[in-house]
């Protein structure tokens, strides 16, 4: 379980407890976080679950796969060094406290 905080583009903040093994995207979508679309259901095929990971947490994440790297080139909002696809971030205890910012647009 990890507490993950989503900061919507509007500034609104929502903290969610996400079970270990679930993805950050799933935690968002289940809990009414607006700024994540996840059109492809988590199969790394649509780049609409784009998020900006707060710097201090970036190293704690497993690096993106080749597919995620490719899809990160397709985000609607600007790709930044801390851009990740939230369907590829798997939750574990050591991500407790993770903070992600959501872009203005996903598609």
């Amino acid at each position: 379980m990890a507490k993950v905080t989503f900061i919507e583009h509007s500034g609104e903040t929502l903290a969610v407890n996400i079970p270990t093994g679930w993805t950050v995207m799933q935690g968002a979508v289940q809990n009414g976080v607006e700024g994540i679309e996840a059109e492809c259901g988590g199969s790394c095929a649509c780049a609409t679950c784009h998020c900006y990971v707060e710097e201090e947490f970036l190293d704690r994440l497993a690096p993106p796969s080749e597919t995620e790297e490719e899809m990160l080139g397709c985000t609607a909002a600007e790709r930044l060094p801390n851009s990740r696809l939230s369907c590829q971030i798997r939750v574990s205890d050591d991500l407790d406290g993770l903070v992600v910012r959501l872009p203005e647009v996903q598609s």
């Binding site: 079970p19 289940q30 492809c40 988590g42 080749e66």
Partner: protein, 387 residues
């Protein structure tokens, strides 16, 4: 004693009361008839979908798997190989690529509607959903049109099982065999004469020097034919059924077609045509007081998870304003339906046209003839009376 038999006609006709008992009383249930465990709660299904190492797809994902299929399709391959293959196939199914299908779907829908113009009633399956899906798929693959009827009939047979023997019957296996042979012939044809079609794209697709093997192209084409023809047609029919039975929703959509996408999502939640898939355990798992053993098969009942009030309040209410994000109508996780963007687009465009021409309709049959299938659910015929 409670039994859950996915071969039973009663389950084809209405699985939802069974799902409720499963979720509430037996959330990890051993079905003797299916010879596998059944997971029905939303949360447990999502956990399983994410944990592909434990819940493997490599031994087959269809409830009644077909010979030699496992390991040769995306849905029956685990990561990491799955991810490489999916990357190759996926580009053809991105939203951008799929948008080129808007006009073909619109044209197919209108051609089908032209053919029933003036009729007081027609069969939505034979006269609309199967025509449109076959037409669009044949266009996508540039398949020779003479075989349309045959391909459709085989696609419909392939996904069924014999409820009495509780397995695939000879006619179902023969249909699968026929489809595999047909796909192989089409692949060979496109290798000799490449074109602008999806089969050529699959043959030629390369990611980091890796291409699909012939067998993988063949099985992928077979699966795409099955999904594009049968699974999508089934869903269009379920959507039509929902609109036939919920007049308020139908009238709102006819008056405001911008609501169609939300209604599609709610139908995907309410009664997706892809009800149940399976996985194979790679280790023992303790869940809800049961111990599932390594090697056991586990049914992930998406149709049950989609009606779980722990996730979707008032789940048995068809509500086109619900916006059910995270529903399991397309599965989820690494194997989430490849055709998601295509299915959403085709459904939206098909129904934009349908509701323009047939805004008022109701069903004729009180009891529908349900397809006997352990994985999919849709009626084989849906007679609609036009107002």
């Amino acid at each position: 004693m409670f039994r859950f038999d996915p071969y039973a006609p009663a389950v084809d006709a209405d699985p939802f009361p069974f799902y409720r008992t499963l979720r509430d009383d037996h959330p990890c249930f051993w079905s003797e008839e299916a010879n596998m465990w059944v997971l029905s709660r939303y949360e447990d299904i999502v956990t399983a979908l994410n944990d592909w190492e434990t819940y493997s797809s490599a031994k087959g994902n269809l409830m009644d798997e077909m010979p030699n299929r496992a390991g040769n399709t995306l849905g029956t391959t685990d990561p990491p190989r799955h991810d490489r293959l999916r990357g190759i196939v996926q580009f053809a199914f991105t939203r951008k690529a799929v948008e080129g299908l808007v006009e073909p779907v619109r044209a197919s829908a209108n051609a089908a509607l032209d053919a029933v113009r003036g009729e007081r009633s027609f069969d939505f399956v034979a006269d609309f959903s199967s025509k449109v899906t076959v037409d669009v798929l044949f266009g996508l693959f540039n398949l020779p049109r003479e075989k349309e009827r045959m391909v459709r009939d085989k696609a419909v047979l392939m996904v069924q099982s014999d409820p009495r023997s509780r397995q695939k019957g000879p006619e179902h296996l023969a249909a699968f065999q026929w489809m595999g042979d047909y796909a192989r012939q089409m692949v060979e044809l496109r290798k000799r004469e490449p074109g602008d079609d999806l089969i050529t794209a699959l043959i030629q697709a390369e990611v980091n020097g890796e291409k699909l093997a012939d067998r993988e192209v063949q099985m992928t084409v077979t699966t795409l034919i099955m999904a594009g023809i049968e699974s999508l047609s089934g869903f269009l029919t379920m959507f039509a059924l929902n609109l036939a039975d919920h007049a308020d929703a139908r009238r709102r959509l006819a008056a405001n077609p911008a609501l169609i996408p939300d209604a599609i999502e709610e139908s995907l939640r309410f009664n997706t045509s892809a009800q149940r898939f399976r996985r194979c355990l790679q280790k023992d798992v303790d869940l809800h007081g049961q111990t599932m053993r390594e090697g056991d098969f586990v049914c992930l009942a998406y149709g049950a998870g989609n009606r779980d009030e722990r996730r979707f309040p008032n789940p048995d209410f068809y509500d086109i304003d619900r916006k059910p994000r995270g529903h399991l109508g397309f599965g989820g996780g690494v194997h989430a339906c490849l055709g998601t963007a295509f299915a959403r687009l085709a459904s939206r465009v098909a129904f934009e046209e349908f509701l323009k021409r047939v805004p008022e309709f109701e069903r004729v049959q009180e009891h529908l003839p349900w397809m006997p299938s352990t994985t999919f659910r849709s009626p084989t015929r849906l007679d609609l009376a036009v107002a």
